[in-house]
Symmetry: D2
Subunit: 362 residues, 4 copies
């Protein structure tokens, strides 16, 4: 009989924490056994501590769970972390040092040289970086990160093109959903009937994470993609789903049909049977006015990047629109898929040190 | 005692027609004396025919005016035209042929070689093209057009930079308000909590109109600007105000301060006292998160282009955001300012032929 | 081996028609075999004729189906009708006369004395009225209707209270979603950031349908509920889900706990195993700020009426809020549940006449 | 030469504080000379401390003003207070005790027996209560309040009917704008595409304030209106403008024309020339679908209560919809009009004690 991995969630009451709980309900490999949040919440039942904002019910057994303090003592050895960057910077290393596999959605360590920034379909090989981490060497623990919610859809759409044609330049202008800012997040007075053409640090993240994600693993480090990426980030009155207008310049010319084939045939996880992986990671919609966040964000159960409107660009080579669900593919689902990949690779088994540590904690 | 010019409005019941009425109320130079709309409306009182959608009251004296049939008979010699393109293509020439000055907001003739496409602050000299028009030669009538609502804010922001530094390439991604589609226009089910990454023909218009507006008058024609312009057009859940993310490449490098100075010192209409002209056609807002349509669209009484977020572009030279009110600066106000410029140049005075024609009509 | 009933959909391209298709996909008892729409669509493939507006994909086998003309020839004997009232008034009788069971969502015949207006949990016994219909007598065909989308949630909440305590008076003020108006329906300029305090004929429907639904079957007719119902109907910027503020006066006093028990214990379909019936038709949410359409409309797979905020009314007896999904529980799901009830009662089996008729058509 | 009254604003950086500044710009009687806010803001320039959220520019001279600590020292003798209730409860008495006329928008003291709760058109005579206040007796200072934003439009619509016909019962269901919750206020995730059927304490305020406002001054107290008022309060996705569905029962029957005449002829401030008073306090709109917040909230420069949809109620006597601008008529404009009324009555002149106090402060 198969035993599920026990999962702990750091930052369990926030929007991404809630998505973790939603996506892990009935997960075939994982089960949530530990929930942690800020001091304000710890000690309460989760159902009392959370303001549940999803449109599926909070599972009763989760509601009844206690909220633990955010310390490694008593935590399971697999931690999904949905923390604000400042807190993550301080807290995630403590869990990694204690032997935990920290599957992080935070930006805190994404650009650190020995921390893998991974999208399973794009750069699964980057996971090898964890062996460079001092935590890994000391306790078996490590940190693995997924990208910013605005980068993930873009990079999924770019990867098949980078593989076949090479990418020289990318222009991207985003229209991002309010859920990306968490809860309470964006005040309604700021966004109803409005556009806010600024999201702090977002353009920087989108530009630099794209370079790392599409970079090559060489020895013990990543050589970033040699391409110019210019991002404009905007907030719009959408609940979920980031829409991005993209222009790209390729290294070798490609026809429309070649671009479409690259997307259609992009199946890097085929055969791996990761439960959260979408069948078609990059879905092309041929309708003239798609993708749209309200209609298309749930494709592939929220895990597909949906592209559309492929047409020539008078300045670079091709223009298109890409959409992805920012709190599923762009956050909780991204981390979950990373964890599934790690599990499939046997990297969620406690090493000796971690086992000892886990034993000590238990 | 000063006599105001009599103005007729074609397409008076639509969204742009309503804006014409709003902006012409208490206008110092013009007065509305004739309203025309489709057959469905003609014969009714305007107040019965219109579904007034503005948040200032419909003036009672306008509500009481009859809606005329859309034919030149009985129309005054100055016509503000707010017609759909298909209808404009058929109808505007009839009015021009009858000796009317047709100040058109439609796209039907914008790109025709002998029709001026004008923003007074940008290319007032292009008005000379009217003398090339066969209508002008025959009856004194002519057609003058203003640009698409997505082009006008962009071009206002580009013009001062083109003058000083030259423009080599422009990337623009728009987030356009629903009022741009008229009424009933965009169904609520299509746009609430959504983005539609497609507006029919809009990218083409934005790209080609920019070239003509920033072009040079040579002899009896316009040499379009030699620059690549690539546009992505999106519809967002905003009532009024088009927001655009822009990257530009200049022909000669400019510092941030030089760009700001170009905008600040852009005062091409200074001294002309056109009533609808904004004091500062291009307003820069230094706040990190502006311009925003809800907060900034009414600057300069809806006639300013508001720019913000000037920052280096890793791909081209500079990035910024520009906002303008799409039904004021981008439509009715644009046409009105064109008319004021024509009036200041004496081109609204009936020529002999037109006067005869007007006499015949009267 | 079980054979599914063949289902035809009249008005298949509209919003309710789309919901029928969505809800019937993988239905255990029914399968869609015939789609009809207006002349504009008939002859096309469904996938070309429809503007699919739901966030689940249009099933490929449905997209490939032809759209038939809206006539009984060739139609199956069970018809789900999602027609505008004017068209329904003319067309539904033709299908009933041809021997079809017409399960109608239209208002055209709801108040006709011999047409059952049914919510299965509320007044299943009213279905007996079909035997009074002349169509039934002639061909075996009949019309069964479900209520207006604003009535159905209200009446589900009222029924358990009417049963136990009697209802003397109801005050209801609605906040209705835009999808209730179909597509294109409500223009975005009318509803974004706005409330429209008027929906044509809606208050009349809500008041009179409530009386019939809660009425008693006596002999061959319905005695309407003897209660005063006063409705205010408003449109708000919500995509799906009608929220209603309700005050009620009971005939015999009830405590808060008695009201809650009445709702909790309301299980009229228990044991009938209708596939679309929600486990708990009236769900009470104890949170102080629920129900909310965005969070709660999908409870019971869109088929529950969610009540909350039960508190004393200073004018009548009790106040509460009720929410239901207007295009599922309030339209397509309502009709589907009616069909399931009819199937369970054996009333979807063709009678002799209908069989002959169906045979003649086949 | 006329000297304007100096005005101080408590809570100057909040949404209502911003409206005070907007409405006082170019006011003929008042000028802002002192701004106070929380400790976080005090010491900064107002332009740095505020997140200006209005669509008219922050006046430069106001932006340059320092933000003072919220203590009476140095404050002028007329204070407009826009404080949260908890803070108001502590702070407003200090200013009153120091001899200030505190014109408060807070709920803290509205229901206190010796504090007038006033709408100038409704119950100006209640201002006499200030003479009962211990602060008044000691220092000349006093507190005057205006009602909750949801009460003010309702009571304006009720007052003319109460005067002529008497009111026995009121049912009201509100749809309130997000600006009523201040800034940051309502999170966008809570209200976009949603309705929240709960606003803390709002129903209680609306019910009890209506009773006091329509009450009679007897001796040194107010006898509340003897009528049942039942309120449902809902938050909707509207920026500004509270819309309310109302049913009323009158003490003596009135025809539709009598009701309309009562509203039309309601001119209690005629001749007083208060600058902020609307010409027509209660405007009736005969269109079938008005009033609407987006289109009608600015009638009477945001100070009118707009009524519409008058029709019989099957439960009480009449149904109608009333709309008023919640941060103008319902907050800052309400307080300002109270101040104008006090000024017109000579009650803003410092009394001896207050003068001494003001002298001591100066």
């Amino acid at each position: 009989m198969y035993t599920k991995h026990n999962i702990g969630i750091l930052g369990a009451t926030g929007m991404v924490g809630q998505r973790f709980i939603q996506l892990l309900e009935n997960h075939p490999w994982f089960q949530v056994t530990w929930l942690a949040a800020s001091d304000r919440s710890s000690g309460k039942r989760y159902g009392e501590a959370v303001r549940w904002k999803l449109d599926t019910p909070l599972p009763a057994h989760i509601a009844a769970m206690p909220v633990s303090a955010a310390t490694p003592e008593g935590a399971p050895s697999i931690i999904f972390a949905a923390l604000d960057s400042d807190i993550a910077r301080e807290m995630e290393p403590k869990f990694a040092a204690a032997g935990c596999a920290v599957i992080s959605n935070s930006s805190a360590f994404r650009m650190q040289a020995d921390v893998p920034l991974v999208i399973p379909e794009v750069n699964a090989d980057h996971l090898a970086l964890i062996e460079e981490q001092s935590w890994r060497k000391a306790s078996g623990g490590y940190i693995v990160t997924n990208p910013n919610c605005s980068a993930i859809g873009l990079v999924l759409a770019l990867k098949p093109l980078e593989e076949r044609f090479g990418i020289r330049a990318v222009f991207v202008s985003t229209m991002q959903a309010v859920s990306g800012a968490g809860y309470p997040g964006v005040p309604s007075l700021d966004i109803m009937g409005n556009v806010v053409p600024f999201i702090r640090n977002e353009e920087e993240k989108l530009e630099e994470e794209t370079g790392k994600l599409l970079g090559k693993l060489h020895g013990n480090g990543i050589t970033h993609l040699d391409a110019k990426v210019s991002a404009h980030c905007n907030r719009v009155a959408v609940e979920d789903g980031h829409t991005e207008s993209v222009s790209i310049q390729l290294r070798s010319k490609a026809t429309r049909e070649e671009v479409l084939a690259a997307w259609r045939e992009f199946q890097p996880l085929r055969g791996q049977k990761l439960p959260t992986a979408p069948e078609q990671p990059v879905e092309f919609d041929a309708a003239e006015d798609r993708p749209q966040p309200r209609l298309d964000r749930m494709r592939g159960r929220g895990m597909a990047a949906v592209v559309g409107r492929l047409r020539p660009c008078s300045l670079l080579d091709w223009k298109f629109t890409v959409l992805s669900h920012n709190t599923i593919r762009g956050a909780a689902g991204a981390a979950l898929l990373n964890a599934e990949l790690l599990a499939a690779q046997g990297k969620l088994l406690p090493t000796c040190v971690a086992a000892a540590s886990a034993g000590a904690r238990a």
